[in-house]
């Protein structure tokens, strides 16, 4: 207890680095001429690399808490920090092609870094008030990022995201209020001690309120409506970021919360199983006849949140639950970035049919897309396969055999719409179709990012074994 009462601000080094980086980009950006904004990009990238390095070195220390037990520094936080930093770095890669030398370039980078800080705080929060702080820090920059795309669709996407975020934020705070009233405090250690004696219905209401906020951040059912609109309406950079990075913090936070309040109580685990199933089915079925690749991917990410919620249902029941969630998050992040980066490399191709013949014109890009889509289906030996396998196993091991069946069924359902996209890629091109831009130019950055992310997705799958050992560690309380 003594150690946890101390402040230990050094334990928050990754968050501090990214936050300071964001401030530097924001302030420095206003002094930079438009053609020199790449300097801001370099600063942002260095901050993210520094945060990742600090997070990796922190992983070697034993699990502990900082700021009087309100922030956990453990394997889960460490993994979320690294994934957040790396994924944001990849988003910068997408941005380098899309918004280089545009009026709001450095502002976008600052917002990305602020949001990334918020995501890291969400992942580590072991106190409800810190959770609120993380939620707001991760959400508010996001509204700005979505809106920066401009145009009518951008405005609509920002408005939807903002309204949904405001609503779920209120529910989150309402839930925190209820839990605070029941437990007499907001620290997770205290919640774990006192909530089992509190009235079940009230605890349930409070937890559901908090979950509402987190499900909005994750983009899971029933707070998912903004995801497809935002992915379609905003720019490639913003779409990639908001469908990838916030999920990392939100899902770790969901896991931490469920693990804390569900001790010896399986109602909440069942709720998690139901939410997972709903998200998987709804996301997959809604993706079926989408014709815009980004909108299709948006729905696919809703389904992926369902898969990511599967191990939450096994929290505390199976030793595989937490490591499988963390692995799946890392796998999902690189795979999803690869798919979005391909769409960013071909910004004018906004219909599935327009991808016809891509393999002949741009074989590298087609291959990256193939790896990304097969990866999202869960084809071995790509990384998401290991994630799906271990999460389904964790669910069955935790007593939810039917959830493992739902995972398999949904993988099959998802195959069809991913095939709708990549079948034309490998078909013979039509006469007079929209041509593909030559490799190089501004789109070289997103294309290269897609390649890097696709290769990472394969490497992560093949190296699952050695990495797995690093993911096995208890939650700090």
């Amino acid at each position: 207890m003594e150690a946890s009462m101390r402040m230990l601000p050094a334990l928050l080094l990754p968050e501090i680095i990214v936050f300071i980086g964001a401030l530097a980009v924001l302030l420095g950006g206003s002094f930079l001429p438009r053609r020199r904004q790449w300097i801001a990009r370099i600063v942002a990238a260095l901050a993210l690399l520094g945060a990742a390095a600090a997070a990796i070195s922190a992983m070697f220390a034993p699990a502990q808490t900082a700021f009087s037990g309100t922030f956990a520094v453990d394997t889960a936080t460490g993994t979320a920090r690294i994934v957040t930093a790396v994924a944001t770095l990849l988003v910068l890669g997408v941005a380098s092609g899309e918004i280089a030398a545009s009026p709001r370039e450095s502002d976008t980078y600052a917002l990305l870094l602020f949001a990334a800080t918020g995501v890291m705080v969400l992942a580590g929060a072991s106190d409800l008030l810190v959770l609120i702080a993380g939620f707001l820090l991760a959400s508010i920059p996001l509204y700005g990022i979505v809106g920066l795309a401009g145009g009518r669709s951008g405005a609509e996407a920002a408005m939807k995201t903002y309204l949904m975020g405001a609503l779920s934020g209120i529910l989150l705070m309402l839930g925190v209020t209820v839990l605070y009233a029941l437990a007499g405090g907001t620290g997770y250690a205290l919640l774990r001690e006192t909530l089992p004696d509190a009235p079940g219905a009230a605890v349930g209401a409070g937890v559901l309120g908090v979950l509402a906020g987190l499900l909005f951040k994750a983009g899971g059912v029933p707070f998912h409506f903004w995801v497809p609109d935002a992915s379609q309406g905003t720019g490639g950079t913003a779409a990639t970021f908001l469908t990838t990075v916030p999920k990392v913090g939100a899902l770790v936070a969901v896991y931490r919360l469920v693990d804390t309040v569900s001790t010896g109580e399986d109602t909440l685990l069942f709720v998690a199983a139901i939410l997972a199933t709903a998200s998987m089915f709804l996301g997959n079925l809604a993706a079926y006849w989408q014709n815009d690749p980004r909108r299709l991917l948006g729905w696919s990410t809703v389904a992926q949140v369902g898969f990511l919620l599967v191990p939450v249902a096994a929290a505390g029941r199976s030793g595989l639950a937490l490591p499988s969630l963390l692995f799946y998050l890392a796998a999902y992040a690189v795979t999803n970035v690869a798919a979005f980066a391909v769409t960013a490399a071909l910004p004018r191709h906004r219909e599935l049919a327009a991808y016809r013949g891509l393999v002949r014109a741009r074989p590298g890009l087609a291959l990256a897309l193939l790896v990304a889509l097969l990866g999202l289906v869960g084809t071995p030996p790509l990384a998401v396969f290991v994630g799906k396998l271990t999460t389904a196993t964790a669910a069955w091991d935790g007593g939810y055999g039917w959830l493992a069946l739902a995972v398999m069924l949904n993988s099959l359902l998802s195959l069809f719409y991913y095939l709708r996209w990549f079948a034309p890629v490998f078909a013979r091109p039509h006469q007079g179709a929209l041509g593909f831009p030559q490799a190089g130019g501004a789109a070289a950055w997103p294309a290269a990012t897609a390649g890097v992310a696709a290769v990472s997705s394969l490497a992560l799958g093949l190296l699952a074994g050695p990495l797995w050992a690093a993911l096995e560690g208890p939650l700090a309380m």
Binding site: D397, L412, A423, W468
Partner: protein, 498 residues
């Protein structure tokens, strides 16, 4: 790196190089493919020459490296009497395809890469001794074949490829679900095949055991395919290129039946016994349904596709019969398993040959319709001769591998359950349909598309003839094959019964 890893990863590595280097010209691509397949055959030959029976539930040329230790899954490979014959058959069929494709002009470099990829994946599946590793290769074979059908097929190739992918992917997911069930039931949790066989984790739990077996069986039955999971097969074959059909029928279908002997039977012996009658009945239905529907076809390729349903049905029938309650029938059980294994090899060789021959028809005149030909034996005598040999081999004439297989299957099965004799009708119908096909296409006056039909070219001859020659060799001198299979077959039969 040991022999087996070399056999699996060498074609994969060469495939990656071929795919990544457009500078390699078409001719070079084709010859690299042939050379690589020949090298694979040599490597498998070296393994066969150095093979010594590893004893019950042992593996030769074993190799194990931790892969995902968190779930006790490792890169674990090895061969025994159940896998070695299939390994050899796979190498032979792929080499035949490489030779057959020597004149293909449609993106030969990419095609070579794709087939080498499929070859590595298929060989990997047959040596896998870990369920996850098995699944990885199982799934990758589906992806590879999808691109073969979609990219090089004809007719409604895109649709057939999609149907193939969705259907067999469904099977693979059912299979994965079954694997997870086995993992969760085993104590300690593991995906290692020999460990799971030793543990037989669901012994005594009829309900879970039955459900897990059902998941595994559905997965394997789709791939095999048995009735009623066969509907993806005819369109896939009709629209696939000749070498695609040869690999699909010759090699990929065996992944299903191989899964029965490698996974379902030894790991779930209890459940296998409990459901043996159902499996036998499905086998009988597949045999009869496949034969009668094949009889009704006018399209030669569809006919061969349906005879595959029939021939694979014999295997299911024999393996089901092994689980039936019968006293003092250890010998019969062992014979039935041996017959099923020989049938896998035999069907691979013969059907690959028949599909390659059907491809010649498509090449020359663009149709498989048997009514469009007549008296083809006159302009294309070598073609007619080889086709006749293939047909006779397929209908199980003594002197060919099919006879050895079907004789043992029925000798074993009828001893265990006399009712299985009804499936003998299937042999009769197959004989009738092949004779009728021969008569319609090759005899009578030269008419339809037959005039001017060019006879077999050397590369076609040199791909098909060795396949049929091997079938003949097994039919006349089966000892070299049976000596490898029999110990493993009798060990499996004992495992299921004891």
């Amino acid at each position: 790196m040991s022999m087996l890893s070399l056999i699996v990863f060498l074609p994969l590595a060469v495939a990656a190089v071929l795919a990544a280097m457009p500078a390699i010209g078409p001719t070079a691509g084709r010859w690299i493919w042939v050379a690589m397949s020949a090298a694979e055959l040599v490597l498998v030959g070296v393994v066969w020459a150095g093979y010594e029976d590893p004893g019950p539930s042992g593996l030769a040329f074993e190799e194990q490296v931790p892969w995902i230790p968190g779930v006790n899954s490792s890169y674990h490979v090895g061969v025994d009497g159940l896998s070695l014959p299939l390994l050899a058959m796979t190498a032979v069929v792929f080499l035949a395809c490489a030779v057959y494709a020597l004149r293909d002009s449609d993106r030969p470099r990419v095609q070579a890469a794709l087939f080498l990829f499929l070859q590595g994946v298929s060989l990997g599946l047959f040596v896998a001794a870990d369920l996850i590793l098995f699944f990885v290769f199982f799934d990758l074979s589906i992806v590879g074949m999808y691109f073969v059908i979609a990219g090089w097929g004809h007719g409604n190739a895109a649709r057939s490829a999609l149907k193939f992918f969705l259907y067999t992917f469904l099977g693979s997911l059912a299979l994965l679900l079954g694997f997870i069930g086995l993992y969760v039931a085993a104590e300690p949790h593991t995906f290692d095949i020999p460990e799971l066989v030793a543990a037989a984790p669901l012994e005594g739990s009829a309900l879970t055991g039955g459900l897990v077996l059902a998941a595994v069986l559905v997965g394997l039955a789709v791939k095999t395919p048995t009735v009623p999971f066969h509907t993806w097969l005819p369109p896939a074959h009709t629209d696939a290129p000749a070498i695609g059909s040869a690999v699909l029928a010759g090699v990929l279908l065996k992944m299903g039946t191989y899964g029965f002997v490698r996974i379902a039977m030894p790991m779930l012996p209890d459940a296998w016994r409990a459901w043996a009658w159902v499996i036998v009945v499905i086998g009988i239905i597949s045999v009869l349904y496949g034969a009668f529907v094949a009889l009704a076809q006018t399209d030669l390729k569809r006919m061969i596709a349906y005879t595959s349903v029939n021939h694979m049905g014999y295997i299911v029938l024999a393996l089901g019969a092994v689980g039936l309650l019968a006293d003092d029938a250890a010998q019969a059980r062992s014979v039935a398993v041996t017959g099923a294994m020989v049938q896998m090899v035999s069907h691979g060789l013969i059907t690959a040959a028949l599909f390659l021959l059907a491809g010649v028809m498509q090449d020359r005149s663009g149709t498989y319709d048997m009514g469009s030909y007549g008296g083809l034996a006159a302009p294309a005598s070598r073609y007619a001769a080889l086709f006749a040999v293939g047909a006779f081999a397929s209908l199980g004439l003594p002197g060919f591998s099919g006879f050895i297989a079907e004789f043992q299957i029925f000798a074993g099965s009828i001893a265990l359950a006399p009712v299985t004799a009804v499936a003998l009708l299937g042999i009769l119908v197959t004989a009738a349909l092949f004779l009728r096909a021969l008569q319609r296409v090759f005899t009578g006056p030269v008419e339809g598309r037959s005039p001017g039909f060019t006879d077999l070219r050397p590369r076609e001859l040199w791909s098909v003839a060795p396949l049929l020659g091997l079938s003949l060799l097994i039919g006349v001198l089966p000892r070299f094959l049976l000596e490898v299979i029999e110990p493993a077959a009798s060990a499996l039969a004992t495992l299921v019964r004891s």
